[in-house]
Amino acid sequence: MSDDIDVNVEYLTRVEGHGNIEVNAKDGEIEKCEWQVIEAPRFFESLVVDRDWKELHHVTSRICGICSIGHTLASLKATEDAMDIDISEQDKKLRKLALHAENMQSHVLHVGYLALPDLLDSKSVVPLTETHSEEVKTVIRLHKLANTMSDVVTGRTTHPQRLIPGGFTKIPNERELEELKEKLEDSVDDLKAVADLLENLAPKIPDFRRETEYISLTHEDEYGLYGGDICSSDTGTTDVDEYLDITNEYTVPQSTAKYTKNNRESYMAGALARLNNNYQQLSPMAKEIAGKFDLDPMEYNPYMNTIAQLVEVVHSVEDSIGIIEELLDKGLEKQGEYNSPDIEPKAGRGIGAVEVPRGILFHDYTYDEEGKCTEANCIIPTNQNHGNIQQDMEKMVPEIIGKKPEDEIELTLEMLVRAYDPCISCSTHYVDIDFVE
């Protein structure tokens, strides 16, 4: 096996980020090992300036189609924080359902359509429709359930229509919630089937460990997704208002995306970070599934992020059933067809943080007294993970060089990036590789 390698995996340009992996080695010595991210700027922090407080969530939802519910919620929370707007307990519960729907949508897409093919030695899900049609159908059913949930709660599967500052324009009725609950209950068999399938494939998950810092929200009453404090596995909890002390953005020459770091060279955000920080608050069945994979804190294998996503899907299903039961037990408070809360805009700064599929997300807005935005800052999870991907590669490449054939090295590195589930098209790829002897 050669000790000279030149891996250059190029992901074609895309917006939220396209990533290249570049690794060169000579005589087993690594000359270059880089995770490069090229981002075409879309200038969201400027697009919102001078716009009215009622429009910001509509604009920032467009940062990412997959995380559009999360961006909308972080945006609304920032606006509500700036203007001291309270929302009802009922609306808070409905928002949590919306967030669960998005987590399920995104995680199922990643686990089922993107990660599974790697483990089944397939280039993509398309050939699997023939070789593993039952499994693919199961994945499609789960994905569809998540989309239905998003429709029922937010009005649309991508870019929600009903979420507004102060609550919802429109809410689902009790019958719709009943039906949704039944569908969620019926999905348990499908969840178990996917878990069994992955359990059988688990030996194929690369065995690589690196201790790092994990950052997520944490909440005293629940598995923190919609709210709480910032939690670092190294430094403990911090108020969301102090988020800049945690993210510490910086730039690197090989990337146009901004990186972040806190206590170490890098930290990880996302499902594995949440699970490491908040494992005890997972639902019973989620813990059971995690147990099948020996997944409990502290888990230092980044590839296990995919399994953590599966565990979170189970948690989202169980927790959503519980939320719907609470809503129905109490009886839905009716609201008009065109609800628009009575809000007087005022000047101020507000910060909103939520957990989205890929990790912790921050929106930070400042408004003038008319409710026009004067300044904005958004820090997305994918960018918070770039530094950690780099650190993982630097540890892993020397461990596998000369021990694995070149194509396996390439696949292992690609799978690493995919495990972080960066943004959707970062996780699939066009490959352009040169190996030199």
């Binding site: 939220e16 400027s46 509509h58 604009v59 940062i63 189609g65 280039k123 324009t169 730039t251 098209s425």
Partner: protein, 253 residues
């Protein structure tokens, strides 16, 4: 259609959020209807394979620098049919908000001192500002059914049925209470219908994501404008979330 007769189709993304490709992935079982009429050779949302041999190219996102433009030109050369999907690609979309902002400030707000680091045009452009576009699927995001309808039309070589009347027409049919009646502002009177006024049905307003109708001065919804004492131009100017590029193009005419 026999499998071997299906045209080959590929998706490409530029400056956008990939919400439109996600809508296609969200077709769920209906994706099989799509696969019956086209052969997907590139679709990054769910597949890793890629081929440069395609007949139909779907373009998502806006064109924002010379690198994008070069890539789009290459795609145009390769494809027999080019379809722009989503507001970013058809009218500049949300990205075009910055077209009316001072570009130096735009860069500074986002990148501070490091603004020279990135190549970006002052204005975000839709695909048709750079190459010839054969078909358009409007919306932010696109509507799944309309997407299927346009693809069917492309394959059959027919003109798709895309409305050129304002959203108000659909909204009235849906018997919604008008946003103006609720003290909100709405661009439904000048926005192209075809979405079944879905946002208003959900209790919100029409934000204008499907872009202006071809001739807002003539074809805007008279009744609504009259009732609330507005002109088409006033509506467009007051709420230009999606209209900046189109407005500039109209003014240039």
């Amino acid at each position: 259609m026999k499998p071997e007769e299906r045209p080959k189709a590929a998706f490409f993304d530029f400056a956008g959020c990939e919400g439109d490709q996600l809508q296609v992935a969200n077709l769920e079982e209906k994706i099989l209807d799509l696969l019956n009429i086209v052969e997907l050779v590139s679709f990054r949302e769910v597949m890793t394979e890629h081929s440069d041999d395609y007949d139909v190219a779907f373009i998502e996102g806006s064109i924002t620098n010379s690198h994008d433009a070069e890539r789009l030109n290459g795609i145009r050369e390769n494809a027999d049919v080019l379809v722009a999907i989503g507001a970013c690609a058809t009218i500049g979309g949300i990205n075009s908000i910055r077209n009316v902002q001072d570009f130096e400030k735009v860069q500074e707000r986002v990148y501070g001192d490091e603004r020279e680091h990135y190549e970006a045009w002052e204005k975000a452009k839709p695909a048709k500002a750079v190459v010839e576009v054969d078909y358009e699927v409007h919306g932010c995001p696109i509507d799944r059914e309309e997407f299927l309808h346009v693809v069917q039309s492309v394959v059959m070589g027919r003109e798709p049925n895309i409305p050129d009347h304002p959203v108000c027409v659909e909204c009235k049919l849906n018997e919604n209470v008008c946003a103006f009646e609720r003290d909100e502002f709405c661009v439904g009177p000048v926005t192209r219908a075809g979405c079944d006024s879905c946002c208003v049905n959900e209790g919100a307003i029409c934000w204008g994501c499907r872009g202006l109708i071809d001739n807002p001065n003539e074809e805007a919804h008279e009744e609504v404008l009259e009732e609330y004492g507005l002109t088409a131009e006033e509506v467009i100017k007051k709420f230009d979330l999606y209209f900046a590029w189109q407005q500039e193009a109209r003014e240039d005419e």
